[in-house]
């Protein structure tokens, strides 16, 4: 009798957090089941309980070292509501300073993902020597691209430092506002570009990167189009008149044909629409829209979902890039690797928004904080680099947090990532006795396209390597480990 096999990839590499993939193969070497497991647990929601509400934006951001700004600002938005404020009623300087911080965050996080984590696969090849398939190898092969990637990320981090106080784990967003403005000296640093590229240089480099990616996608169209799909209801915040919106807006969710499932929905009502499923083999939950059930209601979030959902981008160069993208791929493309293209377009949008904000004198204002009467519930939604982020706090009159619910961007992509892993595994491995390193890397390429932050998603501590194990029945027949 031919034995079944189980393949485990543990740890998954070049993503944030710690994950494992198991592939179950039957006796005919066909994939029967593929799962992405998140194997770390931290329990952040529990230890936020009992803490004072004003501590939440600083405490909760410790979930992550990559996107702490997103958690900081999302918690701050929720806590604003505890002190009787919201995005419309905050002092204008605070509103725009927070946005500047957020654009810096999305820019640096996307740059980290694209240039450090994804580009080695794309530009060196998914089956290239794993010893060189990293940012160091990229620097040898494409030194100018690697250098620009590092500097674009640095620019984003410096924006964060100027607005939050530190590049990682800043503290400036406080209940009802922000505790610092942007000095003229800080502003000039970004406009002049002496210690780092100026904002206009960053804009121009990103335009070139999009052209470079467009050319890459054209040359590799066959492979990209057949590689895998990103399934699920495309969900994001959306701005005024359907504009791309990263900081504050209303909820939109579209199916793969572009038909609205949710549109113009106030995110404060999310508990009416959202549910989460727990599976015993992963610490990451599976959120879904109640109306469509756990499988059909599974969502996808992040750059590709946002580009699919928005009617336009409110900055000219990114809008032009969006139009080019749509002219080639259509609006509702589910091609998984288009996440990277979408990410680059969003980076350009962020750089344009940063440039616009830097010229706004409101950032030098001194009206920074405003509070009103106490409320017991605060809900914040934000488009973090990896997708829609939800923070929800219930706070007693005394100031004590009684309940905390965090639904993190990557969590929304859980089912979609599992589906993509399954697709790639079946297409590459079915019928193959021998599993190559390149095949396993392509499973990681599929996961990586979502830019998952597994530490955030399970609120877990630790790094994010990947282990792949292959089982026939209960017998471990092969194991690949990277850390």
């Amino acid at each position: 009798m031919t034995k079944t096999r189980k393949i485990i990839i543990d740890p998954v590499t070049r993503v944030e957090g710690h994950g494992r993939v198991t592939l179950h193969m039957n006796g005919q070497n066909e994939i029967e089941e593929a799962r992405l497991h998140i194997v770390e647990f931290r329990g952040f929601e529990r230890f936020v309980q009992g803490r004072p509400y004003w501590e939440a934006p600083v405490l909760v951001q410790r979930l992550c070292g990559i996107c702490p700004v997103s958690h900081h600002l999302c918690a701050a938005k929720a806590i604003d509501e505890i002190v009787g404020m919201n995005d419309e009623t905050l002092p204008e300087t605070a509103r725009q300073m927070r946005r500047l911080m957020h654009f810096g965050q999305v820019l640096q996080s996307h740059a980290l993902h694209y240039f450090y984590l994804a580009a080695p696969d794309l530009l060196l090849g998914v089956e290239s020597d794993p010893l060189n398939r990293n940012v160091v190898g990229l620097a040898s092969h494409e030194p100018e691209i690697a250098k620009r990637g590092i500097l674009i990320r640095k620019f984003g981090q410096e924006i964060i430092k100027a607005t939050a106080g530190k590049k990682i784990h800043g503290i400036s967003a406080v209940p009802g506002g922000i505790h610092k403005n942007l000095s003229l000296e800080e502003k000039e640093t970004f406009l002049k570009g002496e210690a780092m590229p100026s904002v206009s240089t960053v804009v121009s480099w990103l335009q070139e990167m999009i052209s470079h990616y467009k050319s890459y996608a054209s040359r590799n169209k066959t492979w990209i189009d057949q590689f895998a799909t990103a399934q699920g209801l495309s969900t994001s915040l959306i701005g005024q008149d359907g504009a791309l919106e990263l900081y504050h807006g209303r909820l939109r969710s579209l199916d793969s044909a572009g038909k609205p499932v949710l549109d113009d929905v106030d995110y404060h009502d999310y508990v009416d629409f959202y549910a989460e499923e727990v599976k015993e083999w992963s610490y990451m939950k599976f959120p879904f829209l109640k109306s469509h059930g756990a499988i059909k209601g599974a969502m996808k979030v992040g750059p590709l979902a946002r580009l699919m959902n928005c009617d336009y981008i409110p900055t000219p160069l990114a809008q032009k890039a969006l139009e080019e993208y749509r002219s080639i791929n259509g609006r509702f493309s589910t091609v998984l690797l288009h996440y990277h293209w979408a990410r680059l377009i969003e980076m350009l949008h962020c750089a344009e928004m940063i440039e616009k904000l830097l010229h706004d004198p409101i950032l030098q204002g001194n009206d920074l904080i405003k509070t009103s009467h106490h409320h017991q519930r605060g809900i914040g939604f934000l488009e973090a680099p990896r997708g829609t982020l939800i923070h929800h706090y219930e706070v007693a009159e005394t100031g004590e947090i009684r309940k905390c619910n965090l639904i993190v961007s990557t969590t929304h992509n859980n089912q979609a990532m599992n589906n993509s892993v399954s697709e790639v595994a079946k297409s590459l491995m079915n019928g193959h006795e021998k599993i190559s390193e390149g095949m396993l890397n392509q499973i990681e390429v599929a996961i990586r396209a979502y830019d998952p932050c597994l530490s955030c998603a399970t609120h877990a501590v630790g790094k994010m390597p990947l282990k792949i194990e292959i089982f026939r029945g209960e017998e471990l027949v092969d194991c690949f480990v990277r850390d």
Partner: protein, 229 residues
Amino acid sequence: MSNVFFQCDGKSMQAPANTTVVEALKLNGEIVPTLCWSPGIEPCLGTCRVCTIKINGKEAAACTQTISENMIIESATDEIRDLQKAIVELLFVEGNHYCASCEKSGDCELQGLAYQMGMTHSRFPYQFTPYELDYTGVHLLLERNRCIHCKRCTDLFVDDKQRKVFSFEGKGSDTLVQMNHKYESELSDHKRKEVVDLCPVGAIIFKGKGFDRPIGTRKFDHWGDKIDV
């Protein structure tokens, strides 16, 4: 006032009689780390023991001893510096100090000392004793996880009517700082600020205020820069 003569780490020094050893050394340019001590507090509380040195061969808190003729002091030796650092480490493990999310971070005297001493970790096991936060104050939050029982608030602070607002309850390791809620509710703005500033750590903090000072403007922000981790 006449001077007395003494020795510190083999060097001859002098200082006015009736000054504490901490101040006597300071007058001679020798800084002893302190926490519960601050200028003007007479007599010093002597609760934290961070200023422990050797006087005539025996360990003693420098803030509670008066300088005297022919004293032999050991202060800046490796042994004493390590002992002082160990005392700071013990203060950290006894409470639950999470500087990353503490409002007092950057202005915390305990954190400042740790920076100053180059403390990167504790050599002692953390106790993880859970302490209840007192949310019942109108203006102030009592965060007992951060209390180091220095007695500044209980012994040195009174309200505008000269009433004590804070007290200790329990004994030994069960000692907890308490707050008189009626008096706390009547505290004036300047008295609230006074007691928040008086607390060397983040145990007494304003409700709802949070992180009101930008990084870079706080007292000890740059003290940690020199630590080699």
